[in-house]
């Protein structure tokens, strides 16, 4: 509980110390705003990588139990994500609200739950998909680690989007977490209105991932027991 908060806070301090002065001009000359942006980015990416990697192994890890009891198998990856969501609510949400108040955001903070819920749905979908694939292919974790790292580096967590060369900027914009990171920053760091188009994209991503996850999991499920 404490550690899940300690990690992004410590990382934020490190990034602010190393890159803060280089990027400060992109954040209105305020080191604070750079730190807020980094913290929000780290929160999202941290939640994504923690929940998906936990969900990934969840079905296989409980293979012994599934061989003894007939329980709904979707419960395992979903539980991995929801357990972390609890920490997101009691740990991160107050901090996001605090950042909002410090940045002078007002009623727009009421938008906060929407991207957070979409993010949870997105991670549930990814978790369902990965946990089903892992039953069939046990080398998925090494691939996923690589992919998570790629997503992490390209999600503009610790650098401003503006420094990315125009030719490859769309890699960042097509990053699946871009919508969540950006809308949460907009809401908590007090732009007048969050970008509704990005909010919509984020919500669709969440819904879409959840649907794909459920469909794939259901389709793969009959093959589980011969491999657990």
């Amino acid at each position: 509980m404490l550690w899940s908060l300690a990690n992004p806070i410590a990382m934020t301090v490190v990034y602010a110390a190393i890159f803060g002065h280089t990027f400060i001009s992109y954040y209105g000359g305020s080191l604070e705003r750079y730190a807020f942006a980094v913290f929000i980015g780290l929160t999202v990416i941290g939640f994504f990588s923690a929940t998906t990697s936990e969900a990934l192994t969840s079905v296989v890890a409980d293979g012994a139990l599934l061989n003894k009891l007939n329980v709904p198998k979707t419960a395992f990856p979903i539980a991995s994500v929801l357990a972390n969501s609890f920490q997101l609510c009691v740990g991160m949400l107050p901090i996001l609200i605090g950042i909002g108040i410090a940045s002078g955001a007002g009623l727009q903070l009421l938008w906060l739950p929407l991207p957070l819920i979409a993010l949870v749905a997105f991670c549930c979908g990814a978790g369902l998909l990965l946990s089903a694939l892992y039953v069939f292919y046990r080398d998925i974790p090494s691939m996923w680690e690589l992919l998570t790292f790629f997503v992490w580096v390209t999600s503009a967590v610790f650098y401003p989007l503006a420094i990315v060369p125009k030719r490859i900027a769309h890699i960042v914009e097509y990053n699946p977490l871009f919508a969540f990171v950006t809308t949460l920053r907009e809401i908590a760091m007090g732009s007048a209105q969050p970008d509704l188009r990005l909010l919509g994209i984020g919500s669709l991503e969440g819904l879409g991932a959840l649907l794909v996850g459920i469909v794939v999991f259901r389709a793969a499920q009959p093959g589980f027991m011969d491999r657990l």
């Binding site: 012994a64 139990l65 009891l69 007939n70 292919y137 046990r138």
Partner: protein, 259 residues
Amino acid sequence: MIDLRGVTLDRRSPDVHGNDLKRRVFALLRGNTRRPPLRRVLEDIDLSLAPGEKLGVVGPNGAGKSTLLKVICGILQPSGGTVEVSGRIAPVLEVGGGFDPELPVIENILFFGVLLGFSRQEMLSRVDDVLEFAGLQEYSDTPVRALSSGMVARLGFAIATDVDPDVLIVDEALSVGDEKFRAKSQRRIDRMWSAEATVIVVSHDLQFIRRSCHRAVVMDHGRIVFDGPADEAVTNYVSTVDARASDVLARGRALLSSR
């Protein structure tokens, strides 16, 4: 009520390529699209149990006894035929299966109860009972990994029999624990026996089957080869084992004398 009609089950044998995406892709590139063969593990099983019936299942290792139980529990879906089961089923967990080794005993009791379909509230009221029966009151906050294997087996038995299931599934778990626990569990078994619960026992303890079950089936190579009164089933099973043993003996003798 349990009703199995013409149940067959094919299971996939372990993959020659292993469960590995990288190797699978390389195998495909080399044009190797061979799929692992299916193995028939249950063949044309007809089995019908009335409520309250106590059935013993005997047979050699690998005959499909445990697999049959898994089909009845709904863990495995049959490849053919139909399975109808009504009522709540509780399996007795064997050593090492199903419990979360890191969680304390008390959490495991709650967890297992919830998985069996009870509310957390209801399980909380049963926890003391279960702990008492398993003789683990002092261990309620100990993680399961720190228990001895006998204690884990006692715990599994205590939970499954405490929840008063309609169908109790017992796979080789009755001969667990020390003498004191055996006497206790025998009393509880007797109680279950007199109650309405349907019980299915897989065991190599033929005396137990003979003594406690109305009826027994003998399984061999995925088939039910005998279904009848427990006494006759055990006699039948023992005679096939004896026949096989004397066959092996005869072959051994022939081999020796031909030298």
